[in-house]
């Protein structure tokens, strides 16, 4: 029934902070079963957009629907379908990894036996079992990302929204996260994640949207967006970056 709806559908989402426009009306449809990359330079409004899409930040205008459920009208139904890993947000990091997962599972109203079993599996797959009773606050950056991902996956959501899942992650952990996400999509889930790392997006994604200055500049399947060029060229052109000529900062060279 819900399969007729896109996994995530945003209409005219807008947000200003202190009179400054952060997001100026974003329309986006994330088809069910897609692996969606949200690209954009720093400060483009990626985090703001995703926060509004999952109910963490109240938009000034617009709609966000998860599989047809409006996030801001019926938050409880929508949030049940969602798994979220925000960026720059602390976890309840004075718990150990297992405690944190158990906490998230019970918060989601899951059966304790199921929580125990899935926690053990997730910790094992993500190579976090060795951490034992170490508190999450003492984890490395990569381990924190992995436990955050585990928290988002635990209740088996239909849609995963990940903000910068590959930021500050070492290559080994990044490969692990990539594999898990690919398996999740292959088994029918939908992923949307933000990033500014072109290689990851090109390797993983079926669809891409490029966000700059608070609006969507390009959107479509990855082949539609990049055409015959590399994604990086398209990105730099869209965002309007500059290239160094060699004249400036002459004092850098001895």
């Amino acid at each position: 029934m819900t399969d007729e709806h896109p996994a995530l559908s945003l209409r005219g989402l807008a947000k200003r902070f202190d009179g400054k426009v952060a997001v100026a009306g974003v329309d986006l449809d994330v088809p069910a079963g897609s692996f969606y990359g949200l690209l954009g330079p720093n400060g483009a409004g990626k985090t703001t957009t995703l926060s509004m899409a999952v109910g963490l930040l109240r938009p000034d205008g617009g709609q966000a629907r998860v599989l047809g459920q409006d996030v801001w009208v019926d938050p409880v139904r929508a949030k049940q379908l969602l798994g979220v890993m925000p960026d720059g947000v602390r976890l309840f990091d004075r718990l150990s990894g297992a405690e944190l997962l158990a906490y998230h599972g019970l918060l989601r109203g899951m059966d304790p036996a199921v929580v125990d079993q899935r926690t053990a599996e997730l910790l094992d797959v993500l190579a976090l079992t060795d951490a034992g009773r170490t508190l999450v606050v003492d984890y490395s950056a990569g381990m924190k990302k992995k436990i955050g991902l585990a928290c988002a996956l635990l209740h088996g959501p239909r849609l995963l929204v990940l903000d910068e899942p590959f930021e500050a992650v070492d290559p080994v952990s990044a490969a692990l996260i990539r594999d898990i996400l690919a398996r999740y999509v292959a088994s029918g889930g939908t992923v949307i994640f933000s990033s500014h790392v072109m290689e990851v997006v090109e390797r993983l994604c079926s669809h891409v949207a490029i966000l700059a200055e608070g609006t969507i500049k390009r959107v479509g399947t990855i082949d539609e967006v990049r055409g015959k060029r590399s994604l990086e060229d398209v990105f730099v052109e869209v965002v309007g970056g500059r290239t160094a000529t060699g004249e400036e900062l002459a004092w850098l060279s001895n």
Binding site: G55, L56, P75, L95, L106, L107, D138
Partner: protein
């Protein structure tokens, strides 16, 4: 050409304290930008500070113009000494220190430690409390001037300035040292004991104060005040008055005492500052890595709580309960409650009892008649202080609260769970307090009275603070220093705390009235009535505030997320 540019053509300019002061003012100013509420709070705080400063000025200036200055030295020594003590202890117990300029942010800059310390010290002086203290103490200059003319006033100006420096240095040194102690988990028990001892120091002082009030002959205290005048607590304040009273030789010695104390404090601060700057990275500390036992869920729940429900409510309670112990900031609050809860009622009631009998007999021997009204009043105070800890309960979590928003936790459930977890620690504490008070007063029959008053005001406080925590939440900085606060938050915190305590006190006043009016019947009714009143108030508060919370979860999250 490029080569020439790499050489530092101009030697780096020296960094002076002025830069730090300007940096602090700029940071404060930027914090206010576009935030009408913050500006209003700051202005209100400044006005309160000014009012207190004016009152203090009058108090300090009066002895110069009355009684021919007989009590000038005594007022200076005791009043000034109390201020130093306040600067020493209050930041630890209540207010925290302003960490607008976090020392850790300067760790990478090539600054000599001396520059850094003087700079941070100068910046610390730019604050409402410091300015208010300075203004109040200028009353002493008026006193010295009235008694001894210009020369005495001039010496007193130097003394007061040095004394205020001493106050600020004391506050910085103590909080900084204490913070780095609390950071390492191993010495947390020692820290708890130290805080208790520090608070216990207030006890003897209060007894001295009370006996001073009882003595009709104030002159007998002159000896004590003279001794205080030769310690760093009184030295800066009495130098000018000594000149006025013809002991000009004492002034330089007292100023020297002040300077030495100041140097020692700054030295101590600068040492702990260094460890704060480099030690911040290893704040976690190693834990014993015993193998986890059982499933994840049974690890989350403490072993003592195997009976707890394994559902959302149970998980919330378990996590909160663990946090009250594992988070240094929260633990510091628990310790404060324990210390205040025991000492304040004991002192108020014993002191009050001694006061009414107007005799020099020993305290706590049951010779005095404790009053039921006063006991209830002090219990009310303890309940209010305990509950007000939750006034910014969401601020403790910071952005981690996002997990609850994403999971869609109902507001009522959230608030009830938080109350329950906090009560797991506080209710036993309050029970102990009520028993201890009844025993110390030698009125074992009053346990019902003390416990009833405590639980009623605690429950009412939980309700009031639910609202405050939902509507007036603010972000705490993400540091491991339990005493750190954001700029402006200091004032905001003070106001919210005052407001919450006032409303709670009003809500619990019926218990005091009943205690005063109903007499013996109340001794038996107080416990059941008080407990029911408190429980009812807390549940009602959770119900109503939960509704508010449901409607403004994202706003609350934004309020407690520190701005970066």
């Amino acid at each position: 050409m490029a080569v020439e540019l790499t050489a530092p053509a101009v030697p780096a300019r020296r960094v002076s304290a002025r830069h730090f002061v300007r940096l602090k003012l700029r940071v404060m100013g930027n914090n206010f930008r576009g935030q009408g509420r913050r500006i209003a709070l700051f202005v209100a705080g400044a006005l309160v500070g000014l009012w207190l400063a004016g009152t203090g000025f009058v108090l300090f200036a009066t002895p110069g113009f009355a009684d021919g200055g007989r009590y000038a030295a005594m007022v200076a020594a005791f009043g000034g000494g109390l201020l130093v003590l306040g600067w020493l202890l209050l930041p630890l117990v209540f207010f925290g220190v302003d960490e607008t300029l976090d020392p850790a942010r300067f760790a990478l800059l090539p600054l000599p430690r001396r520059t850094l310390v003087t700079g941070l010290f100068a910046a610390a002086l730019v604050s409402v409390p410091a300015v208010a203290t300075l203004l109040a103490l200028f009353g002493l200059v008026a006193t010295a001037g009235a008694l001894g003319g210009w020369s005495a006033a001039l010496v007193q100006v130097v003394g007061v300035l040095a004394g205020v420096l001493l106050c600020v240095a004391a506050a910085r040194a103590v909080t900084s040292a204490f913070a780095s102690m609390l950071r390492s988990r191993r010495v947390r028990d020692l820290a708890a004991v130290l805080l208790a001892v520090a608070a216990a120091l207030l006890g003897p002082l209060q007894l001295v104060g009370i006996s001073a009030l009882q003595e009709t002959d104030w002159d007998s205290l002159t000896g004590v005040s003279e001794v205080v005048g030769w310690t760093p607590f009184g030295a800066p304040w009495t130098a000018g008055i000594d000149v006025a009273e013809g002991r000009a030789w004492a002034a330089p010695i007292k100023l020297l005492i002040t300077a030495l104390a100041l140097l020692a404090l700054v030295g101590w601060w600068s040492r702990s500052l260094e460890s704060a700057m480099v030690g911040a990275a290893s704040s976690g500390g190693a834990r014993a890595k015993s193998d986890p036992t059982g499933g994840a869920v049974s690890q989350l729940f403490p072993r003592a709580a195997t009976w707890a429900r394994r559902d959302q409510f149970g998980a919330l309670v378990a996590r909160e309960a663990r946090y009250w112990w594992r988070d240094a900031r929260r633990r510091a609050n628990l310790i404060t409650i324990a210390v205040v809860g025991i000492f304040v009622p004991v002192l108020v009631n014993l002191g009050g009892a001694g006061f009414t009998t107007n005799s020099g007999q020993g305290f706590g021997q049951g010779s005095a008649e404790p009053s039921a009204g006063l006991v209830s009043l002090s219990m009310l105070f303890v309940g209010v202080v305990a509950a007000v800890t939750l006034a910014n309960q969401f601020g403790f979590d910071g952005s981690a609260y996002a997990a609850h928003v994403v999971a869609g936790v109902r507001g009522q459930q959230e608030l009830r769970a938080r109350m329950t977890a906090f009560s797991i620690y506080v209710v036993p504490m309050l029970a102990v307090v009520s028993i201890v008070i009844a025993v110390v007063l030698d009125r074992p029959g009053w346990i019902g009275l003390t416990a009833g008053g405590l639980f009623a005001s605690y429950g009412a406080g939980l309700a009031v603070n639910s609202f405050v925590s939902v509507l007036g939440a603010y972000a705490l900085p993400e540091t491991s220093n339990p005493f750190a606060m954001n700029t402006g938050a200091g004032v905001a915190k003070g106001f919210l705390t005052m407001l919450a305590m006032l409303v709670t006190a009003v809500a619990a006043v019926p218990m005091v009235v009943a205690a005063a009016l109903l007499g013996d019947v109340w001794h038996w009714l107080a416990l059941p009535v008080g407990a029911a009143y408190g429980l009812g108030a807390a549940l009602l508060g959770a119900y109503l505030a939960g509704d508010v919370l449901d409607r403004r979860q994202p706003e609350l999250l934004a309020a407690v997320t520190p701005r970066r």
